[in-house]
């Protein structure tokens, strides 16, 4: 995996984190700020910070750090959650988003100084935390052994985290020198410098293994010149999880202290380190009386206590096992009841430990056998993997082909009279399952689109001075990833439009007897194979007079045209209507509602509008669950088989003669419960031969269109209703007006899929001209 790929993962992660944080803060804003929510927000920001550091996005890291610091106090309950604070956090989140875009897309780096100052300022305002926290017993189960406090100054320098080391090596050197300068006294006599290492109890308790570190010191050229055994308790009292030894090491002058420091990086305060301790009396550098580390560490432990034996037996060091007789102990008059004063400082009898019980090594060894075969697969339920979308789409495509092949086979078998075989039914149901599963892979909750809305609304409120409350329903509704991705733009436009044109200013609202705060509702639901997304506001509704006047002015309709309210409302979708660009730059930034409709249509969906003056407007987007497979009605027109996308079909009927009204020579209208809609004989469009022309002998499929209202398509009969895979004509032939694409039918024949919208619009326009 390349660094870029890992970075790509990080960016995706950032997006998820930003979404999660947004949702969390939105919940806080509404008063739902339980621990989980607050923690989630914290974690989201925290994880961005982590990655930012790893990828050296310093500005992002710096900002997340400031943000996180404040969030941390919120999480810990130090900062009370108030609206003003949440607003600040939301603004910080917006800023974080900008920072993210800066690193991902190279957007300009936002100026975060003022906001960081604000974030810091709330911290200052908080009750003096530094004083209160330690006092509060609830804050932390301070198990941190008192030992920590006893750690000598050198220990502080030797913090066991990496940041100081990564931050500036040079600085570290200075610090070390300064610290080392203190106890310089007895050092002159020996070449090199010394270090007293005293493992604390924790060094054993947490899977630590001091001997490994001591061996590493030897490798670095250190010499163990003294082992302090005075703290070793009586053999009966030896606790193998406690440490009771301390070693003094002598290092060559030339050896960089940092190398030694690094050895203890990761165990930190588990060891008490005293630099430059006096060399114990009687030691001479020449006398090669180096104490064997392994021996000292092993020796005092072996007490003939029963349970101690097995521990020693599995020690990773081979030799000492044999020597573990009390008699073999070299320097250990162990049961010294009273601490003898020695040259070693730090003489206070630590609750001392002995054998570092090296059991884990053996345990790990033993387990090695059954391990390895089981990779990281055994993780929890919510596991996920990231797949290249291209692979997924190929799968979906192939599944589509499979569906068709299965249908073709079923039909062939039906002709052969063997369709009733059980295996075929099984195959069919399996195919359907596979198809559904494949679709489900691409499905994503629409919440990812909705979650971007709150920020947009905040910005809109600022720029318009209007007050908006957002209500969301059905965020969990799932739809195809591509649909979700392409939904963002039209949805954004609709929302901007709703706030800009739909909602009134607080003053206007109050004057109209409404609450000053407008409500924008976003909802999503699945209904009969489609997803309905609604954007509604409780504003003033569409100003039909103005819309009509504008349409006339732009030459979209003639001044005499008789238009229903619905027709007028739909004018806002007409190309060239856009009021937005001229009125303000908020709604759509110069993009008209016709583009919105086009976007939705490109997704195989439709948009409709319902508006009530003074009460508000509601835009409904009806979208297919997936783009790859659609439901269609298969109809015959003469010798042609056509597919009418089910999304457009309202109903189908065979009219009685009195329901058909002729308008002139060539036009017929269908009276559907008192409403007249044009009848369009499809044979004219597809050039079919031998098609039915008499509506009362044919079937009328009533379809709904966006731009031309309803129409009744005249077909010979309806043959089937099934799912089909859309194959674009553009790629295989060329775009044909009125045709959305083609599909392969069960019998292997190609059928054209009607583009109902353009077909009806064209036909209606032609007829108008003809009439």
């Amino acid at each position: 995996m390349t660094n870029e790929e890992i970075q790509g993962i990080f960016f995706l992660e950032c997006e998820e984190a930003l979404t999660a944080a947004e949702a969390g803060l939105a919940a806080c804003r509404e008063g739902r700020h339980d621990d989980d929510t607050v923690n989630g927000v914290f974690r989201a920001v925290h994880s961005i910070k982590g990655g930012a550091g790893a990828f050296c996005f310093t500005a992002l890291q710096a900002f997340t750090h400031g943000f996180e610091t404040t969030l941390s106090d919120v999480r810990d309950g130090i900062l009370p959650i108030e609206d003003s604070l949440v607003d600040l956090l939301l603004r910080a989140l917006d800023m974080l988003n900008d920072h993210f875009l800066a690193v991902r897309d190279g957007a300009p780096l936002p100026d975060d100084a003022a906001l960081l100052a604000e974030l810091a300022a709330v911290l200052v305002q908080a009750p003096d935390v530094a004083e209160e926290t330690p006092a509060a017993p609830a804050a932390e189960p301070v198990v941190a052994e008192p030992v920590v406090a006893e750690t000598p100054a050198a220990g502080d320098d030797l913090d066991f985290d990496l940041d100081s080391m990564l931050a500036g090596m040079a600085l570290d050197d200075v610090d070390l020198e300064a610290a080392a300068a203190a106890p310089e006294a007895a050092q002159e006599t020996v070449p090199g410098w010394t270090l007293l290492i005293r493992p604390l109890d924790a060094a054993m308790a947490n899977g630590g293994e001091p001997i490994l570190l001591l061996r590493e010191l030897e490798r670095l050229g250190g010499q163990c010149i003294h082992c302090d055994v005075q703290a070793v308790p009586h053999v009966d009292e030896i606790d193998t999880t406690e440490s009771s030894l301390a070693w003094t090491f002598l290092f060559p002058e030339a050896l960089d202290r940092k190398k030694v420091e690094e050895v203890f990086d990761f165990v930190g305060d588990d060891f008490q380190l005293s630099w430059d301790v006096p060399v114990p009396a009687g030691f001479s550098a020449e006398a090669a009386s180096t104490i064997d580390v392994a021996e000292t560490i092993e020796t005092p432990a072996p007490a003939p206590v029963a349970e101690a034996a097995p521990v020693v037996a599995i020690a990773p060091v081979a030799e000492p096992v044999a020597e573990v007789k009390p008699t073999a102990a070299a320097p250990a008059p162990a049961p010294a009841p009273e601490p003898v004063v020695t040259p070693v400082p730090a003489a206070q009898a630590e609750p001392v430990a002995a054998q570092p019980a090296p059991a884990p090594a053996a345990a790990a060894e033993a387990a090695t056998g059954d391990k390895g075969a089981a990779p990281a697969a055994a993780t929890g339920a919510s596991q996920s993997i990231r797949i290249d979308l291209f692979k997924l789409d190929r799968l979906i495509d192939t599944v589509g082909e499979l569906v068709i092949a299965q249908a073709m086979m079923a039909q062939r078998l039906a002709w052969a009279g063997t369709a009733a075989v059980e295996e075929l039914a099984t195959l069919e149901s399996l195919t359907r399952d596979i198809q559904e599963s494949a679709m489900a892979i691409r499905a994503q909750p629409i919440g990812s689109v909705f979650s971007r809305v709150p920020r947009m609304l905040r910005e809109l409120q600022t720029s318009t001075g209007k007050r908006v409350r957002l209500e969301m329903q059905g965020e969990a509704t799932e739809l195809d990833k591509t649909v979700i991705e392409r939904l963002g733009e039209p949805l954004t436009h609709l929302i901007r439009n709703a706030v800009d044109h739909g909602l009134e200013t607080p003053e206007e609202r109050i004057a109209a007897g409404k609450p000053g705060e407008g409500v924008l509702t976003l909802s999503a639901e699945q209904r009969s194979g489609r997803i309905l997304i609604k954007v509604s506001d409780d504003g003033k509704g569409i100003d039909r007079k103005r819309v009509l006047a504008k349409a006339v002015e732009r030459g979209l309709v003639s001044p005499e045209a008789q238009m229903s309210d619905e027709d007028i409302d739909n004018l806002i979708f007409a190309p060239g209507f856009s009021t937005a660009a001229t009125i303000s730059n908020i709604s759509g930034r110069g993009v008209g509602m016709d583009v919105v409709r086009q976007n939705v249509k490109d997704l195989g969906g439709r948009i409709s509008i319902e508006s009530h003056p003074g009460k508000g407007s509601c835009f409904t987007l009806a979208l297919p669950l997936t783009l790859a497979i659609s439901d269609g009605m298969i109809v015959s027109v003469g010798d042609q088989t056509l597919v009418v996308p089910l999304a457009h079909v309202v109903e189908s009927l065979r009219p009685r003669p009195e329901e058909v009204a002729s308008m002139g020579a060539s036009r017929q209208m269908l009276n559907v419960r008192g409403k007249f809609i044009p009848i369009l004989p499809l044979l004219e469009n597809v050039g079919a031969i031998g098609a039915q022309t008499d509506p009362t002998e044919a079937v009328l499929v009533i379809v709904d269109t966006e731009s031309a209202g309803q129409a009744a398509l005249l077909v010979d009969n309806i043959r089937d209703q099934r799912q089909f895979v859309i194959k674009s004509l553009d790629t295989h032939y060329r775009p044909v007006n009125g045709v959305a694409g083609a599909t392969i039918l069960g019998d292997g024949r190609v059928a054209l899929i009607l583009d109902v919208d353009s077909l009806v619009a064209d036909a209606v326009a032609t007829r108008r001209l003809a009439a």
Binding site: M1, E5, I6, Q7, I9, F10, L12, E13, G40, R43, H46, S47, K49, G50, G51, G53, A54, F55, C56, E140, P141, V142, V143, F160, D161, L162, D163, M165, L166, A205, N206, G207, G208, E209, L212, L213, E216, D265, F266, V267, G268, D269, P358, A359, P360, A361, A363, A364, A366, T368, D370, K371, G372, A374, A376, A378, T379, G380, Q383, R386
Partner: protein
């Protein structure tokens, strides 16, 4: 080969760890939060565990406490790898039973030597 098990909810962090650790010759397995880690550790015995602190479901502190309470994992070296660097958090990690602490962003070399140092 030293077997390292990493626990981190961030996919990019997992990828970085995988990259860094396998590059230093360790065998690496991964989980994305404490619960998943516990599940995996039921059947596996890595030499060293590296865990994040802030994770959903079960955080690093909780994971370490649970492992330390388990006979099988009582003495397993556990390194904490996190962006948290406060002393209070360190103390808490140690109290929970962490063997060591590494602050993100990590240096691959240092991480590798840390793993070698604590692996028994």
């Amino acid at each position: 080969m030293i077997k390292v098990f990493t626990v981190d909810d961030s996919a990019s962090m997992r990828a970085l760890l995988l990259h860094a650790l396998t590059g230093h010759g360790f065998a690496v397995d991964q989980a994305e939060h404490g619960l998943a880690a516990l599940e995996w550790l039921k059947d596996n015995e890595p030499d060293v565990i590296i865990t994040d602190i802030n994770m959903p479901k079960l955080d690093g502190f909780g994971l370490i406490e649970k492992l330390r309470a388990d006979e099988r994992h009582r003495d397993r070296p556990i390194l904490v790898l996190t962006t948290e660097s406060s002393d209070e958090k360190k103390a808490r990690a140690r109290a929970a039973g962490a063997t060591g602490w590494i602050v993100k962003p990590f240096d691959a070399e240092k991480l590798a030597s840390a793993v070698r140092r604590v692996s028994h």
